[in-house]
């Protein structure tokens, strides 16, 4: 389980991640969606204790990451597949991790096998790996300690369509066996096929989160304002029905359209509209 509470990271006056909260439950795959630079990677690094948050906290399996005694056995992390020593072989990279975690050497061969890196590939230096092979190696490293939680930042990058299909199966199976997966991407299509829940981030803030089918149904619109009460009043006056989500309102044009299970083409996915300006006139928050 991953719990993120009011996580905020500021670089100077600029907030890269602004008051982000969400939760990933065992048995589910959570898709973490947003454009480049939206704050996905920064959020994931904060969860993993690699970046100190300005405010807020995150826990994995109920504990702050830095307090996990042997994190690799609890949570598998793949934040950047290119972050490998170019001069080490794939097998050596895994062996170092396995030894750090106190695992049997046989785990290395088993996980190389699992991600489809054969003996020849394992003996080559990472310098000679394609991005797809690096992603596979990174995935093997993340799964090495048989963790219960996976945190993967854009793992589909560089994988061929077959590789993407294979990875979806792997993650689905992991979640179905009770694991927790947090998976980021900037493409809805990529996570749509495997995720149960979606957390959508834009400009460092959560703009929508919830069950995938609910979010992708209806073709509604997310609206957010500094003054929630004023926004709700404005929506009411306009005759729109609105439901609350994380820190925004979730508007549906008509209740009729709630044919939820119908798969939606990506072009009709929820668009994000900010009505901050409209509502800020009546804003009275401190």
């Amino acid at each position: 389980m991953i719990t993120v509470e009011n996580l905020t990271k500021r670089y100077g006056p600029h907030p890269a991640v602004d008051d982000v909260s969400f939760q990933c439950d065992p048995g589910t795959v959570t898709g973490f969606l947003g454009p480049n630079g939206a704050g996905k990677s920064t959020t994931m690094r904060m969860i993993c204790g690699l970046t100190a948050p300005t405010a807020g906290r995150a826990t994995v399996s109920g504990r702050p990451y830095r307090e996990l005694p042997n994190p690799g056995r609890e949570v598998g992390v793949l934040l950047d597949a290119s972050a490998q020593h170019a001069g080490r072989t794939g097998r050596e990279a895994l062996t170092l991790s396995a030894y750090t975690m106190g695992l049997d050497r046989r785990e290395v061969a088993a996980k190389l096998d699992l991600v489809g890196l054969n003996a020849v590939a394992a003996k080559r230096r990472v310098r000679a790996y394609s991005l797809g092979m690096r992603q596979r190696l990174g995935l093997a490293q993340a799964m090495l300690g048989d963790p219960r939680v996976l945190i993967l930042d854009e793992p589909a990058n560089g994988l061929d369509p077959e590789g993407i299909f294979w990875m979806r199966g792997l993650l689905r199976d992991f979640a179905d066996r009770g694991g927790t997966v947090l998976l980021s991407s900037h493409l809805l299509r990529e996570v749509e096929a495997v995720a149960d829940r979606l957390v959508v981030i834009g400009g460092g803030r959560i703009v929508a989160q919830g069950d995938k089918n609910e979010l992708l149904a209806g073709g509604g619109t997310v609206v957010r304002a500094r003054d929630d009460a004023a926004l709700r009043q404005a929506l009411k006056v306009a005759g729109l029905t609105a439901a609350d989500s994380a820190d925004a309102c979730w508007c549906r044009p008509t209740p009729r359209q709630s044919a939820r299970r119908r798969p939606m083409p990506a072009s009709r996915s929820p668009s994000c509209v900010r009505l901050a300006a409209a509502a800020s006139n009546s804003s009275s928050s401190p």
């Binding site: 204790g49 690699l50 750090t100």
Partner: protein
């Protein structure tokens, strides 16, 4: 939404095998392995060994017969190794950042001070091993010398060997300290080689600096260690110079490493 609490407890019992944090011994072994598991690292170590062999060979060929002693072989080999060991210290620390392996290293061991401690232990062990290699090669050189007409005497003070080990350990730790502080291989190597040298030159040239230089220039404060008698005053000067060039950058570098964002 599904209920969360029962689901969480349903998975929890699966987590029964005791998961202990990796011991410092294990982390040190990992760091030792990292010193040799790349071509660059392996060749740096091999070069250190070859330099000792080269020095002793040159002495066997060119030194006066009377100077072909265990003492000379050992002490003369210490110096070139003392130039290379800091590079080992620097690379051990900085390659994590230049090769970006810090990401997985610190994800597996989020207590970064433990990784840094293990790295320091590993390079200190490497420095001590280099002293053993130097002793061994010097011994072979002495045997060859006695067979080829050199003096081949074995007389050497035990304190000299201890002092030699101190010089090498201090050297590798100074390198590691610069690595921790600058976190960038070329910058740290240039900084390590340039700053103390610059300081030595300034100490010679600028009259008012001559006094402080005697306390702060490591090449001068370490000189007495190559003899077997070091006075209390000389130890004092050595301690002060190491405080400035080793302890301070280590402390500042540790703080920097602990705070730095890993990406």
């Amino acid at each position: 939404m599904t209920t969360t609490a029962p689901a969480a407890s349903a998975v929890a019992p699966r987590h029964q095998s005791p998961v202990r944090r990796p011991s410092l011994l294990r982390l040190t072994a990992v760091e030792l392995r990292k010193l040799v598991d790349t071509r660059a690292g392996r060749w740096l170590l091999i070069t250190i060994g070859l330099v000792v062999v080269a020095v002793v060979t040159l002495l066997l060929i060119y030194a006066e017969d009377a100077e072909q002693t265990f003492f000379t072989f050992f002490v003369t080999s210490l110096l070139p190794v003392n130039v290379l060991l800091p590079v080992l210290g620097i690379l051990s620390i900085t390659s994590e950042w230049s090769q970006r392996t810090a990401l997985s290293t610190y994800a597996l061991v989020p207590r970064r001070e433990r990784v840094v401690t293990a790295k320091l232990l590993a390079v200190v062990l490497a420095a001590l091993a280099s002293v053993l290699v130097t002793l061994a090669v010097a011994a072979v050189g002495t045997l060859v010398a006695s067979a080829t007409g050199g003096a081949g005497t074995w007389q050497v003070d035990a304190t000299l060997i201890v002092n030699g080990a101190i010089v090498q350990v201090a050297g590798v730790l100074m390198g590691a300290a610069f690595g921790l502080l600058l976190l960038n291989p070329p910058l740290a190597i240039v900084g390590y080689l340039l700053l103390p040298t610059l300081w030595s030159v300034l100490g010679e040239l600028v009259r008012p600096l001559r006094g402080p230089a005697a306390w702060l220039d490591t090449s001068r404060t370490m000189e007495p260690l190559f003899t077997s008698h070091v006075t209390a005053g000389q130890w004092g000067r050595l301690a002060v110079s190491l405080l400035v060039w080793m302890v301070l950058p280590l402390a500042a570098g540790l703080v920097r490493t602990l705070r730095r964002e890993v990406s």
